[in-house]
């Protein structure tokens, strides 16, 4: 029998192969696979639903990830998917598979983080499943939310000329991961060494305890702005811009000098790792900021918002996706997201 390695397809190729035979039987299913969340017509509103599976050793490393933060982060990243639909999160369900390496107290730590996140995002923990695993920790989270029908925002509905916006700043979570990985190696080489995290608190926190930008969803509603398209930035800006362009059938121009990068991210990239902060912003994952587009006439409403940066605009598809460097020259953007499926050695 033919054997195709998963790594030859990549995550998105794999999803396509597995779900291409999908048929929908219910007219209430408005969106299925292919956006941040599925959409079901409840009558007056839309129900959105998203799920994520987090795997020890792939998505998190308990050497430096405190259990409480892990609990918080699993909720935040799922809420982020709900926010990316311009929806309001309402409920979560959490399933754990744990090996007997974990004690009841360890799971209670995880749940402390989960409860804190539920409190912060005002979502109700309403169910889940708890089971054993043969090795390692697996967390599966389901998030539900509600969207007003006229305000739900997809990936596929951006239009030429729309202004591209991003919340917060980019690349910090990736630089935080580099710091934590470096300190882990130092510790493994010499367990007497204390981790050097001073002055790197921000990037480390962005990695360990990201927040979903539900605040922006509520503020955009207050400002009377409905994004024309939206996605959350989990795999790096480049990959997410590509998703919006592909699904909306557009090209894009992104301006290097407009990319929001925190000073600490900048310093960490340059001083500690000698890499370009732009690379961290474009290809570093796990920022969980929102990438969205607005109509040009909405620009005035958001231009003074301290947490929203306008970074470019959508163009005809023929123009592809380009980064406009400070020098004025253009570089074509290609995605280089996370690759969890590695080639077999």
């Amino acid at each position: 029998m033919k054997r195709t390695e998963i790594s030859t397809l990549g995550e998105f190729g794999l999803i396509k192969v597995l779900t291409e035979k999908t048929k929908h039987f219910h007219p209430q299913t408005i969106r299925g696979v292919g956006d941040d969340a599925s959409v079901w017509d409840m009558g007056e509103k839309y129900l959105v639903c998203s799920t994520d599976l987090l795997v020890e050793g792939i998505h998190f490393d308990l050497t430096y990830m405190p259990l409480k933060h892990l609990g918080y982060k699993t909720i935040a990243v799922n809420i982020s998917d709900i926010a990316a639909m311009n929806a309001r999160p309402t409920q979560v369900l959490v399933s754990l598979a744990v090996s007997n390496r974990f004690s009841v107290e360890a799971l209670q730590e995880i749940y402390e983080g989960i409860h804190t996140a539920c409190q912060n995002y005002k979502v109700d923990l309403v169910g889940g499943d708890t089971t054993a695993s043969r090795s390692g920790l697996f967390i599966s989270v389901v998030a539900l939310g509600e969207a007003e029908k006229e305000k739900i925002t997809y990936r596929s509905t951006a239009r030429k000329g729309d202004i591209i916006c991003v919340t917060g700043d980019l690349g910090a979570a990736y630089m935080g991961l580099q710091i934590l990985e470096r300190e882990k190696q130092v510790f493994l080489a010499n367990p007497q060494m204390q981790p050097q995290l001073e002055g790197r608190d921000y990037v480390v926190r962005r990695q360990l305890r990201p927040e979903a930008r539900t605040d922006i969803i509520y503020e955009l509603a207050d400002l009377g702005v409905t994004p024309t398209a939206m996605i959350d930035i989990s795999d790096g800006l480049a990959s997410e811009v590509l998703h919006l362009c592909k699904q909306s059938g557009l090209g894009a121009m992104i301006y290097e000098d407009k990319l929001p990068i925190a000073q600490e991210t900048y310093d960490t990239a340059i001083n500690d790792f000698n890499i370009s902060p732009i690379t961290a912003a474009l290809n570093g994952g796990e920022d969980y900021e929102l990438l969205f587009s607005i109509r040009q006439e909405d620009y005035e409403k958001i231009k003074l918002h301290p947490e929203i940066s306008t970074i470019g605009y959508f163009t005809e598809p023929e123009k592809d996706i380009h980064l406009v460097l400070r020098s004025g020259s253009l570089v074509k953007i290609q995605a280089q997201g996370w690759q969890h499926f590695q080639e077999k050695k």
Copy 2:
């Protein structure tokens, strides 16, 4: 720091400890943790949502579980939770974590089963997540459904005198598992041996490819019967009766001679394993039949239904839960469900 082993609490004790701090922020949350599914008030109807995490080596053994059946079963067992709320399933989301032992073709096999189940139960596959695992296969399924507000059925709403009913027959999936495990051991000892499954097709099929009893949900609606309480039988009849009694604050009388046991289950239990078929029915898991109660005045409506057996009735809580043996004597029923969390050796 104190270390409590998970095995000392058991699954239900653990869930209690982890979720006791849960607060709900939304009045639309009608039910959270503690029933077959969560319940959200959508306005005209209730949304129900359930999730399950299936772990290789704990919930399934790929030595004898064909991948297609595994895909089918993961959907069926989640749909069963929706049915147990007297709700109609509408959507599923499926997440996989797979090690590089699995090929694209293997995952396609799993999805064939998933698609077939979606077709049979008329549910829409609308999302999920696909990721790597360091070892083994993990499948997380979310199922959504809709219930009419006046017909939703909880575990906690049975009343004294209600008649206890069960669908289909019991103990078959457990006997199927015993057969498959026995043949696995034979094969491991001598790989030239062919498995002896003749005459055991029914019990084996019940283990490998169970069905959710959505048919009964639709038929009860046609008959004008709304159960007073319901649960699906995943951990054996005894455990589920205990849940209904505990949550409804009742006792129960169950009649040994009323328990529906298929001839093949009976023969397999007695001839192949020398165990009591009643034990298989009471404590064997994974039947995915429905256990429910009805008002006495509804008895006439269901008494001729070939797939529904009346097996007893609810009593005052002081009477505990008893099995009335053929001899007329009473045996107190205690749960002995699945214990996934084993004591550390």
